[in-house]
């Protein structure tokens, strides 16, 4: 647990894909594709445009350091709009409607007239070089009283296939972005809010499910620290850990700052060429590089190697910056000798750099241009260490630590998307927007009304198959049977590689109804469902796997079987029930419910015994 006085302030942004029929600004389906199926390919450059100040956004400038060529894959499910070769259509009204539902659930107020904006993003993930986004509603409330600042409707970005290759299938899928104020004060609270908002989104029944369809960004700062935005947190379970580690990172960076100030640490701006020192080294990286530069950080000794998060040191942060110049990484004397660098070489290096005991020397091996660039980045990050915590956009690593990604964007570079007409949200529209019952509320109803236990009720409510469950119950199927079948049976079949996705909803309900009406035993359901998944017609499957057995027929069968085994029944008494059950069930081949068979058999045995 973290101490209370650290002044943690956290907010989240949730990005959730909407499951609409078409994309936000074109008529393509919102289908994700396998990249090998792409049918077209083209390449483009993106350039940051000159702003009114003759300046380019800092994040954009970093992205465009090298003018980069991006390649895009297109599909028979994408069109010229995603390719930035046709103007967008009008705003997808279906997606806007879903967005309004979410806004209303969050007690927000819609803006009277929605304007689509262009937000500059030139990392290649948008063919246009901007992301289209519209502010739809503001000022909502979280259950704990926190403020939801805004809900925006945006277009999803293209998915990165590899370095500079993007796939256009995802580009343009509608995305809602919910932004809270920095109103959370503990890791647990962050996780709870994320979970709550996720539940709200799923309550609409109109959002995408599955990996990558929902992403959280978390903003974190502590007293004396700085605002850091951590992108792309996909697993709820890691949020707490990640927040805790970030607090640790910021606290340790502040401690390092204090120590550096105490030592009167400095930065030597000029890198020294130490290539000749390593001419005969056995370190492969140094040997292969055409240039090795050294940066002296007076007073940094021991600090660069200090752990600030599990698996991360100040050196890692410095290395993150250096890597932006295309170098593989850095070495620093806090970690040397190691990696094939000998004690003698370290000594020579320190001497060459005129390093004292508590100094640190950082070396960079690359070609001259990259090495020089990296050296400047090293001094830049080292300078931040003297100031404390830099404002940054970071990405989450496995386990919950984070790494530097790019500077925090400045005031967002947004300007109007003139190709798209604004949309007014009339009072009438807002009033008629239906707030979907929350999944948590539905779970409660399932417990109260249907008698499902709380765990199962929640499972049903949060399941993809919720609509089917509700349809089944409405058709007269007992909730418990429906829930068990939809959750347990189908999951088990799926584990056995039965393609349960191929079962049509109507067939599934038909099978459940057959059980409900006594035409099929529930024991026969796995076989029936497997047959349906295999493409069999419902009537054929029922006829084959659950032939009609009338009650009279059952009595006959039971009487015959007991009659043939009188001695056995006499000998065992009621204990004969178990063995005989199997025989009868096999005979009726799933067409009679086990309980019914059991009762008939019990009666028959009683009668035999009572003779």
């Amino acid at each position: 647990m973290l101490p209370d006085d650290i002044g943690l302030l956290a907010g989240i942004e949730i990005h959730q894909q909407i499951d609409s029929r078409r994309k936000l600004f074109c008529n393509c389906p919102t289908a994700m594709r396998v990249t090998s199926e792409h049918t077209g390919e083209f390449s483009r450059y993106l350039r940051a445009t000159v702003s009114e100040m003759g300046e380019i956004d800092e994040a954009a400038r970093e992205e465009m350091r090298d003018e980069r060529l991006f390649t895009y894959y297109s599909y028979d499910t994408t069109c010229l709009v995603e390719e930035d070769d046709e103007p967008p259509t009008t705003l997808n009204e279906e997606a806007l409607g879903i967005c309004l539902q979410i806004a209303k659930t969050c007690l927000m107020t819609p803006v009277p007239q929605v304007h689509v904006m262009r937000k500059l993003v030139i990392d290649g993930s948008n063919t246009s070089g901007f992301q289209r986004t519209a502010l739809v509603a503001t000022d909502g409330t979280l259950p704990g009283g926190g403020l939801i600042e805004t809900i925006c409707l945006e277009e999803e970005a293209a998915q990165r296939v590899s370095d500079a290759i993007f796939s256009l299938d995802r580009l343009g899928i509608p995305l809602v972005e919910i932004t809270t104020s920095p109103c959370m004060h503990s890791p647990r609270e962050v996780r709870d809010v994320a979970e709550y908002l996720g539940m709200v989104l799923r309550s609409t029944g109109r959002v995408k499910r599955g990996l990558g369809t929902i992403r959280q960004d978390v903003n974190i700062s502590i007293s004396g620290g700085a605002r850091v935005e951590i992108k792309g947190v996909q697993e709820l379970d890691l949020i707490e850990e990640m927040v805790e580690r970030e607090v640790t990172r910021q606290r340790t960076l502040l401690e390092i700052r204090e120590e550096l100030h105490r030592r009167d640490a400095k930065i030597c701006e000029d890198a020294i060429d130490v290539s000749t020192l390593f001419a005969g080294t056995s370190s492969g990286i140094l040997k292969n590089a055409s240039c090795v530069l050294a940066v002296l950080l007076p007073g940094f000794g021991g600090m660069v190697g200090r752990e600030i998060q599990p698996g991360r040191r100040l050196g890692s942060e410095i290395s993150d910056y250096a890597k932006k110049c295309g170098v593989g990484g850095i070495f620093h004397t806090d970690e040397l000798p190691a990696y094939g660098v000998t004690p003698d070489e370290v000594a020579a290096l320190k001497e060459a750099a005129k390093a004292r005991e508590d100094d640190c020397v950082i070396i960079i091996a690359a070609d001259r241009q990259r090495a020089a660039c990296a050296a400047r980045q090293v001094t830049r990050r080292a300078r931040y260490a003297l100031l404390g915590v830099p404002e940054e956009t970071r990405k989450m690593l496995e386990g919950g630590s984070t790494a530097y990604m790019r500077p925090l964007p400045g005031a967002a570079r947004m300007y109007p998307e003139t190709d798209i007409l604004p949309v007014s949200i009339s009072d009438a529209r807002w009033e008629s927007t239906v707030v979907p019952p929350l999944l948590t509320e539905r779970a409660k109803v399932f417990t109260e009304r249907y008698g499902l236990d709380e765990g199962l009720a929640r499972q049903v409510a949060f399941s993809d198959r919720l609509p089917l469950f509700e349809e089944a119950v409405a058709a007269g199927i007992r909730p418990a049977l429906a829930a068990r079948t939809l959750l347990a049976t189908l999951r088990e079949l799926s584990r056995d590689n039965v393609p349960v996705d191929r079962i049509q909803d109507s067939s599934l309900i038909g099978a459940l109804l057959a059980v409900e009406q006594g035409q099929a035993a529930k024991e026969a359901l796995p076989d029936i469902l497997s047959a349906l998944a295999g493409g069999e017609e419902i009537s054929t499957a029922l006829g084959r796997l659950a032939p009609q057995v009338a009650t009279a027929d059952l009595d006959d069968i039971v009487a015959r079987i007991v009659g043939e085994r009188k001695a056995f029944v006499r000998e065992r008494g009621m204990a004969a029930l178990g063995p005989l059950m199997g025989i009868v069930m096999k005979e009726v081949r799933g067409s009679v419910d086990g309980q019914v068979v059991s009762k008939a058999l019990k009666d028959a045995i009683s009668r035999e015994l009572s003779v």
């Binding site: 445009t49 702003s51 070769d85 304007h115 503001t138 570079r413």
Partner: protein, 411 residues
């Protein structure tokens, strides 16, 4: 509220909360304001109240030095934009016409040439008129006369081919006159403006010596095509590679990013022609496309017409019902030229009856000219010939590559 101006600081009551915002404009009776987050929203005018003007930061002074050792080029702007600047505060996009602004926006230009710039109009290209074509022709003439090595004309793509064709006829030029535009506006990071601009500069300094249009050759940013002004047509509403040479191969290509210019064997080379200007245009000309069942009464709206280009069907046909009306037009001194709505291929009115009827009444076969180019040519020919017979002769003669005497094989 009319005292509010774009850029003013306002107070805006949104969701019951007062917040500061920048007033942008009025749209569908809503006040559009930009919030602190950068988002625009439309609100009733009653929700906002003016606080005051905001200080507008002066644009940073940009120092651009041009390299005097490079060849001089002129950039003449007509409304098409190759550089623009966004005011993120108001969302306004302004086109940039000064050499220093263009070179700041597209630094690579500075390595190709040194530039003079001139803005002669600032209109959407659908509002272009023959009068502006003439003004442009004179401006290009003056620039070439002043000794530049090539001229780049920035132009909206909608009618760029009409204007380029008009200049082809009005001007003979020893140096390349290159028309360029962009299919994506210059304010977008994905705009084709930059590549089209540097490629057009490469062509303007190349050994070419005629009027051409330079635009993206493919949807990818890998090359631009050089189209002869009299054979090019916009063949897609929105794609970057919308422009196509019809009826012959393009004049060549510019590879990007290498800027290597490859010219075909049939191009007119730099210095082949002396500079001259004949800028007369007969504006009383029209282009009419025939469709089946279409009444010849459409010709009645064209009274006083001196020249008519018909985009006929197939080899150059109209229905028999049109023959009398056309005969009257010709008799009234109107020069009528037949082209084909097929766009590709040659008109030949000798083959079928209605065609022979057209020839009999004096309709001129427009060979394989594009209908739009035939219209522009007719305007020019009628203003620059002494007799209708001479005009008729010139319309069938290849003056600027607008007619190919041979139709090449293409698969």
């Amino acid at each position: 509220m009319s005292s509010i101006e774009s850029g003013d600081l306002v107070s805006c009551r949104l969701a019951g909360v007062e917040r500061k915002a920048t007033y942008i404009t009025s749209r569908d009776s809503y006040a559009v304001v930009k919030l602190g987050s950068g988002y625009n929203v439309g609100v009733p005018f009653e929700w906002i109240s003016r606080i005051g003007a905001q200080e507008i930061p002066a644009p940073a002074q940009i120092l651009v030095s041009q390299d005097d050792s490079l060849p001089p080029l002129s950039i003449i702007s007509t409304g098409g934009t190759i550089a623009s600047r966004i005011d993120y505060r108001t969302g306004a996009v302004t086109s940039q016409f000064r050499a220093e602004d263009i070179l700041t926006a597209i630094p690579r230009l500075g390595g190709i040439a040194r530039f003079r710039t001139l803005q002669i109009s600032s209109i959407l290209s659908e509002n272009m008129t023959p009068a502006i074509w003439q003004q442009l022709a004179r401006a290009v003439y003056d620039e070439v006369a002043a000794g530049v090595h090539g001229v780049i004309v920035t132009h909206g793509t909608d009618t760029i081919s009409y204007t380029a064709a008009a200049l082809s006829f009005m001007l003979t030029t020893p140096v390349p006159v290159i028309f360029v535009g962009s299919q994506r506006s210059a304010d977008r990071p994905s705009s084709d403006n930059m590549i089209n601009a540097v490629c057009s500069a490469a062509v303007a300094t190349s050994p070419l010596g005629e009027v051409a249009v330079v635009m993206h050759a493919t949807s990818s940013d890998n090359s631009c095509a050089i189209h002869r002004a009299t054979r090019v047509r916009k063949m897609h509403t929105s794609r970057r590679d919308a422009f196509a040479s019809i009826g012959n191969r393009s004049l060549g290509h510019v590879a990007y990013p290498s800027l290597a210019v490859t010219l075909g064997v049939d191009v007119v080379h730099r210095g082949s022609h002396a500079l001259s200007l004949r800028d007369g245009l007969e504006e009383r000309c029209a282009l009419v496309q025939f469709a089946p069942g279409m009444s010849p009464s459409v010709l009645e709206g064209l009274s006083g017409l001196k020249g008519l280009v018909i985009a006929g069907t197939g080899l150059g046909h109209v229905s028999s019902a049109w023959i009398p009306a056309l005969k009257d037009l010709v008799a009234a001194g109107c020069t009528v030229v037949m082209t084909s709505q097929c766009l590709n291929g040659r008109v030949c009115d000798r083959v079928y009856d209605t065609g022979r009827d057209l020839l009999d009444i004096g309709v001129i076969e427009g060979e394989d000219m594009l209908p739009e180019v035939a219209l522009v040519k007719l305007m020019w020919v009628l203003a620059n010939t002494a007799s209708l017979d001479e005009a008729a002769l010139l319309m069938r003669e290849d003056l600027r590559g607008e007619i190919a005497m041979r139709s090449a094989h293409a698969t």
